[in-house]
Amino acid sequence: MSVKHALLALLDQGPRHGYGLKHEFEARLGQSWPLNVGQVYSTLARLERDGLVAPEPEGDEDTERRAFRITGAGRSALAEWLSAPVPREALSRDELLVKVVAALEAGAEPAVRVIRAQRTATLELLQRHTRSKAEAARRGDLPRLLTIDLLIAQAEAEVAWLDRCEARVAAGASDPGGEVRR
């Protein structure tokens, strides 16, 4: 995962101390992705080892008090990462998918119950996201808005999938020889 690259993106704007990096990272993504300062220092140590950052010349010996700057290699690594699409092919083992399929063992009705309960819960989540979004918009907090937009898009996709599941399960139940077979 790319804490490493997020830190490089900040360092690309100018040299920074570990503590400042933690602070800036969290100001942008901290609400969904808390970062402890130890993680920042260990990431910086790895970046330094790989030659992607270097300590500022007139800095302190102590990692915790040194400022770092991005190197040429660091800039290339950042550019390469930014330009590469994130791979999305693999479907992670989704508990909801497993649950719907498991419920289907006992028939269409239990599966529909699972689907409906999940849809209601996801809609409630979507309602909360929508409220947070209004707040973030009032604050003009762009990184937070982008984060919530992603959460909303994921919840929306899940609801759309659940709608489709319900329609398929219903169609399969009324037409056993039809599209849906188990």
């Binding site: 849809r119 996801t122 989540l125």
Partner: protein, 232 residues
């Protein structure tokens, strides 16, 4: 608080005999002033039927519909029409506005039909247009407005004057998601000002703007969200 809209065990059957369709089957729903309720459900689940009954455009086969304290079934045609005109606003997917009238004339129309008087109707219409951010387009004809602007005019018309109930059936129609959201934020703001709203939508992201989401399937309420508090 007393509900602005109350459906009590409402059923609606279209046709009879073998071709009868049970569009709604024992639906109960209360919507308080200031509350916006979204209705979701598959095509044919009875969403538009519910709105039509709530707005007195159609009558239930059994059950009661109460709007603003009045049971619609007890009203004769003329009184029902008057209540609809004065108390209920509708926003449809499209074709909301009369093309030959400007935005402000469209919004003023319900008031004028109601005998409010041209000047007052126009003043109320301008105020309503101002609330939806379109005061400066008051003189534009519908074909001079974007789809999103037309829907905002439709919302202004639906809440102008003394309306207490706002019924919207897929008001985001063909709008893109940002314009759609803007329309719904407005709808929500109008509800927060004290009107009760019912919003039919297929889209979860729009439904989530409501205080409560009710799910219909085969004419029945199968589930609903509880009022969601807290922050993510």
């Amino acid at each position: 608080m007393t509900a602005v809209l109350e459906l009590d065990q409402v059923a609606r059957v279209y046709g009879d005999g073998r071709t009868a369709v049970q569009a709604l089957d024992g639906v109960s729903l209360r919507v308080a002033p200031g509350e916006l309720v979204a209705v979701m459900g598959p095509s044919g689940s009875g969403k538009s039927t519910l709105l039509n009954l709530a707005g007195g455009l159609d009558r239930p086969t059994t059950g009661r519909v109460v709007v603003d304290g009045t049971e619609l079934g007890r009203l004769d045609r003329r009184r029902l029409a008057a209540l609809r005109r004065r108390r209920v606003g509708y926003v449809f997917q499209d074709l909301n506005l009369l093309p030959g009238l400007t935005a402000v004339e469209n919004v003023a129309l319900p008031g004028e039909l109601d005998g409010v008087g041209t000047r007052q109707a126009r003043a109320e219409a301008l105020a309503a247009l101002d609330q939806v951010g379109l005061a400066d387009r008051a003189g534009a004809f519908p074909d001079q407005l974007s789809g999103g602007e037309r829907q905002r005019v439709a919302i202004a018309r639906a809440v102008v004057g003394q309306r207490v109930l706002l019924l919207a059936d897929e008001p985001t129609g063909a709008l893109d998601s940002l314009a759609g959201e803007a329309v719904l934020e407005l709808l929500r703001a109008r509800c927060e000002a004290g009107i009760a709203g019912v919003l039919v939508t297929h889209e979860a992201r729009y439904a989530a703007i409501a205080d409560r989401v009710v799910f219909l399937a085969d004419g029945r309420v199968v589930d609903q969200t509880t009022v969601a508090g807290g922050v993510v």
